[in-house]
């Protein structure tokens, strides 16, 4: 006993060290204790944990496997091991460990729960369900029954479950939930789960019984989530009529102003009750009656609420819109009358424009009448309410502008009108603290939109200068306006001033999950602006920091799924899992990863370690089912309906990258890396630690990876710029040309594994687990090269597309340099990337012995010539980027900028102010042009030996 207490005392400092992140001292303390207690599993587990945290994976693995082999049941050991295995990405082993422990102590309820949770974390819903069922039988607790029910539901919804199984599993869940002794409605979340199963199985009558029960009714009255389900089921059951009546009573009697009630109320007006179809006269007559009633109700609501609530008037508009779409028009003027009265009443609210947007899609007489109404709104502004009204007039007029009204002249007049009114009305917010937004902000934003549109019409950069300067002025007055900042981020990127874009992006302080939804603003095609080759890792670091959120997600979210189980919040569990999945398989996550890889290869030595590592990661990504969480809605959109919105107008190179872009780049990189790597699938399978990604149920039907890498779907290419397509053609040609030689020379898996085992043993002193080392084959040469029995592939001439790429693209560069800074950077960095592909693809043929053994002389000559030419061209480009950068920060360049901005230079927006913006833009452009140029020579000298 005393020795146990002594051990306990000695363990405490180890825990302390682990808690405070002093992993090294934890290892030292563990070693000391292990001398006295060499077999102690807890100490071993803790040491393994410290080692994982020190990134000493191989050493940790050895200990980890020792502890696992002893099949621990002790709580402290299990907990420590859970963390070790999580650190190693071995969730499946955690499951096995707990299952073994629970098997040894089947009456240990806590162990049962832990085993269940381990399965939950790993997403093993089927085993989770089986354990929960067993626990329910053994410990007779109702909640274990519900655990098994929701596990079944989750299994049904899992992407790895074939769709044919789904219904069957829901039926099983239904059988389980109805087998409980207590009814589900004793608990809100159990009730929610029950309803969701009934909805899925379309057992609406059964759901009705629950919903019409007094307890069911009271749950729905106080719980929004259950009420949502109730509404859904009612709709699916075609009970719109009853739901409409219910909604009406809530609106009229209880004063409920939830818009969902109004929608239900309106749905009931246009239902097919006894009428055959929507085009029948009977339907129209019935509708007319119901519409009249609805109108009376809504008018009363509007009257009662006055300015306090917009529901009534907005529902009247919605009623009119729906009537028109059913072709039931009583009164041609009605929609306009409602619009006008809505504007009279709520025109001084900021949301008025958004409220009316769905209803102002007008044409012909309606449009001209609406327009003249808006134009007649007095333009004198003395109060903030009048200002808001004026802003709404501008927005509403603008959204309906026609092509003939969008000429250069008309748009110029409009832009300067917005700007003038902005300056005039700024004093209305002069007394607000600087943390507040200015009431006139939207006028500056409107002016910014108009100038950006002028740029789109004319392609003249000067309009972007004006937009940038006026928004900078807007920020001076309204420092907290994140909308202006986001607009500036876009504009500065278009201007080729990435550091200014980054400054504004950082000023909005994106945090946590916002990194996923907003980082596209700054990291989309960021390798264009990366100076990583010169050692400036700003953008590369931004990629890594942004990606932290994905790590937090995989470490934290599953814990809350477990908590939701313990707290029986079943309604949340599927939501949490969806959230985790959307973040884990986020499109933006992998776009960032791709950009980071592109930057990384410009500044790190290309060797087999990096290539193998990236290859494995990129292959994982390739099979993901991506979710696009990027937020583009955040940008203001005040452009007329008939032209592209601000977001589309300001995408870099006019093309937003999405799934197709990512897949294309992945195909390019994976193919090149795979050719030059010695890792084939069998080697990877043996060497890789941790769980493999789960495969979707349909993934079995997919073509082999090799073939999928050669695909080039047209819809994917549409997301690429023409220059990116050129790079794709180049890399494809290159891979096609060299592929057969790679395949011939690549050492067989057994040799690669033997080498890996040797390295691992040198490092840890233990042999590599699961790898048998075969004796060196008889035809093996001492330096690891193995000539195959089959004949070597014939050496062919390089394809035209590869030979000509650099010269063609140089011409493209000269042209791009004339058009804009970003175009020049885009083409230049793509040429550099092509060069890096050339390096990756030819690395294998570098060593003299390989060339000699495989008689590759003529092949080497061919690609050497291409490389030399590429280096010359890159050096040329570097020089011209250097010259261009010198031109950017001259007084002359600034003069062009300030003169362009003359339409907005006023006593408020002074010449000095604009000059300062000009200077910042010039400096930023100089920096990136110079840096990319210098980086190129660096890349050439690093990679050209």
């Amino acid at each position: 006993m005393s020795s146990f207490a002594a051990l306990e005392r000695q363990l405490r400092p180890i825990y302390d060290s682990l808690d405070t992140g002093s992993n090294k001292s934890a290892v030292v303390a563990c070693n000391k204790l292990l001398k006295k207690h060499p077999g102690n599993e807890l100490v071993k587990a803790l040491k393994a944990l410290a080692l994982v945290r020190l990134q000493k994976v191989e050493e940790s693995l050895v200990l980890c496997d020792e502890v696992l082999a002893s099949k621990p049941t002790d709580d402290a050991v299990l907990t420590a091991m859970m963390h070790v295995l999580r650190g190693l990405g071995r969730n499946i082993d955690t499951v096995t460990m707990f299952e073994e422990a629970f098997k040894q102590q089947p009456s240990n309820e806590e162990l049962g729960a832990q085993t269940f949770f381990a399965n939950v974390r790993a997403g093993h819903w089927k085993s989770a369900q089986q354990i929960a069922t067993r626990m329910h039988k053994q410990f007779h607790e109702d909640r274990y029954l519900y655990w098994s029910v929701i596990s079944t539901v989750l299994q049904a919804n899992d992407t790895t479950t074939p769709s044919s199984m789904k219904n069957l599993l829901y039926k099983l869940a239904h059988r389980l939930i109805t087998s409980g002794k207590a009814p589900s409605y004793v608990h809100t979340d159990r009730f929610h789960l029950h309803l969701s199963i009934l909805r899925e199985l379309e057992l609406y009558d059964e759901a009705r019984v629950l919903l019409d029960h007094d307890v069911g009714k009271s749950i729905c009255a106080a719980n929004l989530a259950c009420d949502e389900l109730r509404r859904d089921i009612t709709k699916l059951q075609n009970r719109q009529k009853q739901e409409g009546e219910f909604a009406e009573s809530k609106i009229v009697e209880k004063g409920d102003r939830n818009w969902l009630e109004f929608l239900s109320f309106l749905d009931a007006v246009f239902i097919l009750d006894t009428e055959p179809d929507q085009s029948s006269e009977a339907f129209k007559t019935a509708c007319l009656d119901r519409m009249e009633h609805a109108r009376q109700v809504l008018e009363k609501v509007s009257e009662k609420d006055g300015k306090k609530d917009r529901s009534g008037p907005l529902a009247l508009l919605e009623l009119e819109k729906r009537a028109r779409s059913c072709d039931i028009k009583q009164d041609d003027e009605r929609l306009l009358t409602l619009l006008k009265s809505y504007f009279e009443q709520f025109g001084d609210k900021a949301c008025c424009y958004e409220d009316l947007q769905p209803y102002v899609v007008l044409d012909g007489d309606d449009l001209s009448s609406w327009t003249s109404f808006l134009e007649s709104v007095p333009s004198s502004i003395t109060t903030t309410n009048e200002l808001q009204r004026r802003i709404n007039v501008h927005k509403l007029l603008r959204c309906n502008l026609t092509a003939s009204q969008l000429t250069l002249e008309a748009e110029t007049t409009r832009a300067s009108l917005y700007f003038t009114e902005y300056l005039q009305t700024l004093p209305l917010g002069a007394n607000l603290p600087n943390t507040e937004l200015q009431p006139a902000d939207d006028l500056a934003i409107l002016a910014g939109c108009a100038y950006v549109n002028l740029w789109t019409i004319s392609k003249e950069e000067k309009y972007l200068y004006i937009a940038a300067s006026l928004l900078e002025y807007g920020l001076l007055k309204s420092n907290a306006s994140f909308l202006m900042r986001l607009m500036l981020v876009r504009i500065y990127r278009l201007l080729g001033a990435p550091t200014l874009a980054l400054e504004h992006y950082r000023a909005i302080q994106t945090k946590q999950v916002q990194h996923d939804t907003l980082s596209h603003f700054i990291l989309s095609r960021a390798s264009t602006f990366s100076l990583a080759a010169t050692g400036d890792l700003t953008f590369a670091t931004e990629c890594l920091e942004t990606s932290q959120i994905y790590l937090s997600n995989s470490q934290e979210t599953a814990d809350f799924v477990v908590r939701a189980f313990t707290g029986e919040k079943y309604s949340q569990i599927p939501e949490f899992i969806t959230f985790e999945d959307h973040l884990d398989n986020s499109l933006q996550r992998d776009i960032i990863k791709m950009e980071h890889v592109r930057m990384r290869f410009t500044h790190e030595v290309v060797n087999s370690d990096i290539m193998d590592l990236e290859l494995i990661e990129l292959k994982f990504i390739f099979d993901r089912n991506h979710h696009d969480n990027r937020d583009f809605q955040i940008l203001p959109d005040y452009q007329p309906r008939i032209i592209p919105n601000f977001n589309d107008q300001t995408m870099l190179f006019g093309r937003g990258e999405g799934h197709g872009w990512l897949m294309t780049l992945l195909r390019m990189y994976i193919r090149a890396l795979q050719q030059s790597s010695d890792l084939d699938d069998t080697v990877e399978e043996k060497l890789l630690i941790g769980d493999r990604p789960k495969l979707a149920a349909d993934s079995g039907n997919k073509a082999p990876l090799r073939d999928r890498l050669r695909e080039r779907p047209q819809e994917d290419l549409a997301e690429l710029t023409p220059d990116e397509v050129a790079l794709l053609d180049f890399t494809t040609g290159l891979a096609d040309w060299l592929g057969c030689h790679h395949d011939y020379i690549r050492p067989p898996p057994s040799v690669v594994l033997a080498e890996a085992a040797k390295q691992s043993e040198l490092k840890t002193g233990h042999p590599l687990k699961g790898v048998e080392i075969l004796p060196t084959p008889p035809n093996g040469s001492p330096n690891g090269h193995h000539k195959k029995d089959e004949e070597a592939p014939a050496i062919t001439e390089p394809p035209e597309i590869v030979v000509n790429f650099f010269n063609t693209m140089k011409a493209r560069f000269d042209e791009a340099q004339q058009s804009s800074v970003v175009d020049a950077l885009h083409v230049a960095t793509l040429i550099q990337e092509a060069f890096i592909f050339l390096v990756i693809e030819t690395l294998r043929f570098k060593s003299a012995s390989v060339i000699k053994i495989y008689k590759l002389n003529s092949l080497v000559q061919s690609f050497k010539a291409i490389k030399t030419n590429a280096v010359e061209i890159l050096k040329d480009i570097s020089v011209s980027l250097g010259k261009q950068s010198d031109r950017e920060s001259t007084a002359e360049a600034r003069k062009v900028f300030t003169e362009s901005c003359s339409p907005i230079v006023t006593p408020e927006v002074t010449h000095e102010f604009v000059l300062n913006v000009a200077k910042k833009v010039g400096d930023a452009r100089k920096k990136v042009l110079e840096g990319v140029g210098k980086g190129m020579t660096r890349v050439c000298s690093n990679h050209s030996q």
């Binding site: 949502e228 609530d309 609210k349 949301c351 999950v513 908590r563 939501e575 949490f576 959307h582």
Partner: protein, 185 residues
């Protein structure tokens, strides 16, 4: 006029227009999930008919004995949707659930002293200052023109619910009672 619906985990992908406002903090994933995994019925969203998020409230139920109550942790409305009584509607819901479901004695919340608009609004909703908490907002409370002394004293405001008909959970002289942040759970 807006859709009132539960706050969902995936709303974290959609709350930018609300959270980019300087006064609204974006916390880590675990902050939102810890509320949703325990008090999902005290967390809701107001959404515009267009689908845009207008604002949200996050709350919890805590305390023991006569201190058992609903607490408003975060209440926020995007700038363009202010002055539409959205905050009041979300507070109504939170009070209703705290009363009916959790049977709490009162609802409470903390405000920054400098946030006169908010204090005014809560007073109109029936809240009164129960005590002031020193340094509750820490360095976040720096108002205009540097550190404002008043800012350091965030009022803890309360409103009794139906279970406290005697209004024992509030007091008239709350403004004069100052406690340190350590004494507040």
């Amino acid at each position: 006029m807006s859709v009132l619906r539960p706050f969902r985990a995936t709303d974290m992908f959609k709350f930018n227009n609300v959270n980019l406002d300087v006064w609204t903090e974006t916390y880590g994933i675990s902050f939102y999930l810890s509320y949703l995994s325990r008090w999902p019925d005290l967390c809701c969203v107001q959404q515009a008919p267009s689908g845009r998020m207008m604002g949200y409230i996050l709350g919890k139920a805590e305390g023991s004995g006569a201190e058992w109550h609903g607490h408003v942790t975060a209440l926020t409305v995007a700038p363009e949707y202010r002055r539409l009584s959205l905050a009041r509607k979300m507070m109504d819901l939170l009070e209703f659930v705290s009363d009916e479901i959790y049977r709490g004695f009162f609802v409470d919340l903390y405000v920054r002293c400098a946030n006169y608009v908010a204090i005014d609004m809560y007073e109109k909703l029936g809240y009164s200052v129960y005590r002031r908490v020193r340094e509750y907002y820490g360095s976040l409370g720096v108002g205009k023109g540097g550190r404002d002394e008043e800012d350091a004293f965030g009022p803890d405001m309360r409103k009794p619910l139906s279970r406290d008909p005697g209004r024992r959970s509030v007091r008239p002289n709350g403004r004069d009672i100052i406690v340190s942040a350590h004494d507040v759970p």
